[in-house]
Symmetry: C2
Subunit: 356 residues, 2 copies
């Protein structure tokens, strides 16, 4: 028997769970025979769904979890009362070493809070960051944080830069990624203290890539850099603004292509090409945000994702586990803090002691 | 002779100044005979350009200004050394009451710094906000701040909400505008202190409209609210992310429509409709950001705008002056602070005393 990558699934999270989750799980298993799933959820609801897919029955173990974390539950409450939930049980599977990664389409705040408490952050990382891949005019880029940390200090941003660069190298295969700090102007004087201090640190320190400097919002889709670093507030707003704008343009496009008989004829002819465009911009392709910086892989699927989107999120979790992303981040952090200690002639616990 | 609205123009600001500026000025005057311009710039360069347009010669006065504020000059330096610049002279014309508004496509930071010092903020407003109109799926919305204030406290955000609502009523004609605070989740618990405190104030206070609550990035283009309030850091990133995403989608669209002979034929048929789409999304239509909250109208044209874009910015300045936007804001602020004083039984100078 070939070696398999075990992934824990929270079957009860997401707008149309558990149906969509199980359908997506079956899709992912059909595509990749190396995947084995541990599925957590309410037996009465989930087991019959699993039994509909022969490919899934062979590729999963089901484990009953009586409770569900609702989408509006406060993270603190989820932490206290969610011990028997499918989400918590799936995270526990990673902590126990039974699975390499966990995926949920449920409550983001609760997932982050539980994952932080159960899995802990990697040594040298203070806070995990929500990370995703973004399409650009020349390929793809990695962006973080997309919403985990409303406020970030300079050290958080520097740690995001390190993790993002290793992610970009490991997952996108860019050997020497360029790193940009999101700001509102390219000049050194612009922006708030945190982003300017982070820039001055990144300019001086050894990096698994190259610090490009400040970038602006329009640089993200232009592909100016491989890794976009920002705080979770701006990052989340930018992400959702991009989703909204893409929707707006396609809404206007549809209206334009229905505006006359001539336009409708043109649309009929161009349809196969436009379908390609649709598939290229398909948010499902980019479904699966990673909580980067944890001792274990935790992937968040969009709550509204369909089965195709959920299958892609499973694919993301597989890739990350398969390529040993966290081992690469651990090595880089050890190397980085080693160099910093040497440079500073100290063995301080503070990774940024002496740099400012 | 009919009454005319006098607008001061900085002819030397922008990537292709003064040529584009004068071309745009001529366009605006040809379209609207009620406009009279005071054009400031280097006589040797600007006068010959003006003389090319008979319509402009009749509708403007030219005034020589020897100095130019360069696009990379620091605002503090521009303040100290820019007294004889075309930008400063044009702002002075508003302060002296010679013009109702000023437009520049030059250095944003310098323009904001000079306008603040020369024109001063409206009573009750601590900081001006860069404001613009944004297309949505169901019409248009007003968004502020788009980059003037990197960090904003709750009071700044509340003042932006008041000014944005009056702007929306006066310029877009929405009698009872809905106001949304940009955040990373709709729940009351989300976001940083400033945005949560601002929300709790806006929920309680009388408004020239209705407080909708928190909105997310994708709500902006969906048209969820009429007025989007945010700090200048997130606002600028959102604005530029929208520009970048619109470019990305049209880049993918062009590629798709060239991908086969069939697609090319379809494009030929659909072209008139697609041109309509292009004109609808044309950033030139939305050129002209207003520095809201000053005692005088100051409009910033995009530095890369062409003459059509610059003419639109002049149109924006005309509309705002013509409709007495600042008088409406003054009245609303007086009314608002009067009510607040009554509610609090105080006549405190602090407009937010007693509310928290």
């Amino acid at each position: 028997m070939t070696s398999r990558t075990v992934i824990a699934i929270d079957a009860m999270g997401g707008d149309r769970a558990p149906e969509i989750v199980i359908e997506g799980a079956a899709l992912a298993c059909a595509r990749n025979p190396k995947i084995h799933l541990l599925i957590y959820g309410d037996e009465a609801r989930v087991k019959p769904l699993i039994d509909k897919y022969a490919v899934l029955v062979k590729a999963c173990d089901f484990r009953h979890a009586p409770d569900v974390i609702s989408s509006d539950m406060k993270p603190s409450l989820a932490l206290r009362q969610g011990r028997n939930s499918s989400m918590r049980q799936a995270i526990n599977a990673v902590a126990k070493g039974e699975a390499s990664s966990v995926i949920s389409a449920g409550n983001t705040g609760a997932l982050m809070a539980m994952a932080k408490v159960v899995l802990k952050t990697l040594p040298g990382i203070d806070r995990p960051a929500i990370t995703s891949i973004f399409p650009t005019q020349i390929g793809e880029c990695v962006m973080l944080d997309l919403g985990a940390n409303v406020e970030c200090d300079a050290e958080n941003l520097v740690q995001f830069a390190l993790m993002g660069a290793i992610f970009c190298r490991t997952v996108l295969g860019v050997s020497h990624p360029s790193i940009g700090l999101l700001n509102i102007g390219a000049e050194e004087l612009k922006g708030h203290d945190e982003v300017r201090t982070a820039a001055s640190i990144l300019r001086e320190m050894p990096l698994p890539g190259e610090f490009f400097g400040f970038i602006e919002g329009n640089d993200i889709t232009a592909g100016t850099v491989d890794v976009v670093v920002t705080d979770g507030f701006s990052g989340n707003i930018a992400l959702k603004m991009a989703e909204g704008t893409a929707k707006l343009v396609s809404y206007f496009l549809k209206k334009a292509l229905k505006s006359s008989i001539r336009a409708k004829l043109g649309y009929l002819l161009a349809r196969p090409a436009l379908e390609q465009l649709r598939s290229r911009m398909d948010p499902r392709r980019y479904n699966g945000a990673i909580f980067l910086g944890l001792q274990g892989v935790c992937v968040k699927s969009h709550g509204g994702a369909d089965s195709e989107g959920f299958a892609n999120a499973i694919g993301v979790a597989f890739d990350i586990a398969d390529r040993g992303l966290n081992d690469h981040i651990r090595e880089e952090l050890a190397r980085h803090y080693g160099i910093m200690d040497q440079l500073n002639g100290t063995s301080s616990d503070d990774p940024f002691a002496g740099i400012d």
